[in-house]
């Protein structure tokens, strides 16, 4: 906490805020890509401290939120009907599928376990050869190395009772998808610090080149975020578009080579459906053929009807920054964290849920940016 406290230092926050206010001369829209950043911005009340000119747009970087409904249905189906032990990170459990969430399936008797690492799932499979263990492998580049390792470990051990249900998504293609939208109004990005910790920063140069948009690799604490915003505003005001790394204490330009190596061994790039956005080409990981026996999608023939998203949800517009969560007619009414109608309301890192939890839907002064 000592080190954390440094990045929550009120004096530094004050200093960066003053600097942003000094530099900014016109309205700018900046997207923080990662859900962790959204959570932090709203939880610490930073959005309200920023000058009116700065419009923070909350990006698609919440893995729980963008996991397609159909995949959650698959996980529920596997747990209930295929007699598997379904292991998952905690916050996937509450996300409603088209009929029920994993938490509800658990209440109905399915063997569903919350784990902190997929390697624990491999241990469960090793110690219980009579159980069929499936790990729900969701997440961005950050969780991919551990998921890849779990499969490689299972292969080393010769396990035939372990597999993963993959929904891995990648950040750079999502940023491009957002930029390609004709309604896009994003002037700069705060790139997700943790993703860059794994992947490095080289993937962003082509995006900057093509779209002339500043990208600042940014951390998650209040001081990080304000520093990142300041760097982005500086570039925008000067008419620049370059890559800057605010999160130098963690992110090396080349990333984590060991982690990248593991990902490369186990996964290959595939098209992927994003909840709230749709299909994005080359935007996800799928297990390589060499590991197909660990791919739950292949191992279990799951034939369930395609799930339909709610028609009132404007998640696409929220994720692209065209609308704010509270501008949705269903926000806080039909759509709440208890009964989310769309992706950004499901996890506390989703833009809608973050606003729902931490701002006041009745009193605009707390809801406005």
């Amino acid at each position: 906490m000592k080190h954390l406290a440094e990045y929550r230092n009120p004096e530094l926050v004050e200093k960066y805020l003053a600097e942003i206010k000094k530099v900014v001369s016109k309205p700018w829209s900046i997207m923080e890509v990662c859900g962790g950043q959204t959570h932090s911005l709203v939880k610490h009340g930073i959005v309200r401290l920023l000058p009116d000119e700065i419009n923070m747009i909350h990006g698609p970087g919440c893995p729980v939120c963008v996991t397609p409904l159909s995949l959650i249905d698959k996980a529920v189906h596997l747990a209930l009907n295929h007699n598997v032990t379904l292991c998952s990170f905690g916050d996937m459990l509450r996300v409603p599928g088209s009929t029920k969430s994993l938490l509800q399936a658990k209440a109905e008797g399915a063997d569903i376990r919350i784990l902190y690492s997929p390697l624990e799932a491999v241990t469960i499979a090793t110690e219980n050869p009579d159980l069929e263990v499936v790990f729900f492998a969701v997440g961005f580049e950050t969780t991919a190395p551990a998921n890849a390792l779990s499969v490689m470990r299972a292969a080393e051990l010769g396990l035939d009772n372990y597999s993963i249900l993959t929904s891995h998504v990648l950040v750079p293609p999502a940023m491009e998808a957002v930029l390609n939208d004709p309604d896009c109004r994003i002037d700069a990005f705060l790139a997700a610090g943790h993703v860059c910790t794994i992947m490095g920063i080289s993937e962003y140069y082509p995006i900057i080149e093509k779209y002339q948009v500043p990208i600042v690799v940014t951390g998650f604490e209040p001081v990080d975020l304000l520093h990142g915003i300041l760097l982005a505003v500086n570039q925008l005001e000067r008419g620049e578009a370059k890559l800057e790394n605010q999160y130098t204490r963690i992110v090396r330009p080349e990333g984590n080579l060991n982690a990248k190596n593991v990902i490369e061994k186990a996964f290959e790039i595939h098209d992927r459906e994003w909840r709230g956005i749709g299909n994005i080409s080359h935007s996800g990981y799928e297990l390589r053929d060499a590991f197909s026996s660990y791919n739950a999608n292949i191992k279990y023939q799951i034939d369930i009807p395609k799930a339909e998203e709610s028609s009132i949800c404007i998640a696409g517009d929220v994720l692209k920054g065209i609308k704010k969560p509270y501008q949705c007619s269903a926000f806080g009414k039909e759509c709440t964290p208890q009964s989310p109608q769309g992706a950004p309301m499901v996890s506390s890192e989703g833009a809608c849920a973050a606003y729902y939890h931490f701002s006041n839907i009745n009193q605009p002064e707390l809801s406005q940016d």
Binding site: H44, G45, V64, V138, T143, T336, Q338, F358
Partner: protein, 354 residues
């Protein structure tokens, strides 16, 4: 947390009774010979008092003045955790609920639902916890019940307790009496119990073991009421749902709101680290040894001084105040000067992916 040496000494004085069975069987809940053997083997003796000694279906007792009654069930898993066990927790939990009503805890009932296969040794250790905690709180267990369910239909031990207490003269604990300007105080560090349980349950290891702060609060509550009477307006122990939920409930539909200052919230470093690591908000983590009180502003400093002089209260601190500015809402003023709404927790807190 409390008088650890005394607790160990007490446990050593009460060795496991000699029994010809090692595990609880369905027969121990039949009401017949086995039930009798179990209770007579040492339970009655351990908890002995004139009411219980009659071994009647219920207890007849004298009381005076206004009474407070509360009931609570305890289903915690694991039943032994760093800093306590389910038996102590059951007594403290019920005692604390009475204390929060402004009452002096007097009598408790004790009902067990045991799972077939429970080791007698574990049952006895829980009983020792009950006895030790009851002694500490000055309450008597005056009646009880034991049932046994099939293996797999319980989780070792479930305990239900009902508590009866006598209202302290001058006590007037009522959220409707809260007014703008009143101060909000917590009696100790938050989120400790919940994180202690979570770290055992999830097998998480930190530099040192986080111990539950489970403890009785009745002495602190009694002292406050005796000294400050009706100026103590609200008392609540924020157990499940944590401080955040209690604050939200306190201001809901009221003509006042609450301003909480994040940098005043007392939290142990290690607990704060564990929360950060798991992506869990300490405001919504269960407490068992802490209470929240709202008092008139002119006595706030004296309340803190008083609490600090009592065991268990040395970390008490003013965390915020009542305001007329945003009625019905509790607002957290973040350490960096931002504001956010404290909302009711939806479902269970689940660790985040990243």
């Amino acid at each position: 947390m409390l008088a650890k040496d005394q607790k160990i000494e007490f446990q050593l004085q009460c060795p496991l009774p000699q029994l010809d069975f090692e595990y609880i069987t369905l027969g121990h809940g039949s009401g017949g010979l086995l039930t009798n053997q179990l209770l007579n083997s040492g339970v009655f003796e351990l908890l002995s008092n004139p009411y219980l000694d009659k071994q009647h279906d219920g207890a007849i007792f004298k009381a005076s003045g206004e009474l407070a009654i509360t009931t609570d069930s305890f289903v915690i898993s694991p039943i032994f955790f760093p800093g306590g066990n389910i038996g102590e927790l059951a007594v403290f939990g019920t005692v604390n609920d009475l204390a929060m009503c402004g009452a002096i805890p007097k009598y408790l009932t004790l009902s067990f639902i045991l799972e077939e296969g429970l080791a007698i040794k574990e049952f006895w250790d829980v009983m020792l916890g009950v006895k030790w905690a009851a002694n500490l709180c000055g309450v008597q267990i005056i009646t009880g019940d034991t049932k046994v369910v099939d293996r797999g239909k319980g989780d070792k031990i479930f305990i239900n307790t009902t508590g009866i207490g006598e209202l302290i003269p001058g006590a007037s604990i009522d959220a409707n009496r809260i007014e703008p300007g009143d101060k909000i105080i917590v009696s100790g560090q938050i989120a400790t119990h919940g994180m202690a349980i979570m770290s055992v349950r999830e097998g998480l290891e930190f530099e040192t073991t986080i111990e539950s702060d489970s403890q009785p609060l009745h002495k602190m509550a009694e002292n406050l009421i005796r000294d400050f009477k009706e100026k103590v307006k609200f008392l609540r122990d924020p157990t499940r749902g944590g401080l955040g939920t209690t604050l939200t409930e306190m201001v809901k539909s009221q003509p006042f709101g609450a301003n909480i200052f994040q940098d005043h919230l007392p939290i142990d470093n290690q607990v704060a680290n564990a929360c950060e690591l798991l992506g869990i908000d300490p405001l919504y983590v269960a407490n068992e040894g802490v209470f929240l009180t709202v008092v008139k502003a002119d006595i706030a400093d004296a309340v803190i001084e008083k609490l600090k002089s009592i065991e268990g209260g040395h970390q008490s601190v003013i965390i915020g105040e009542i305001t007329s500015e945003h009625p019905g809402q509790a607002i957290l003023n973040s350490a960096i000067g931002g504001k956010r709404l404290i909302n009711m927790l939806v479902g269970e807190q689940l660790p985040r992916i990243c």
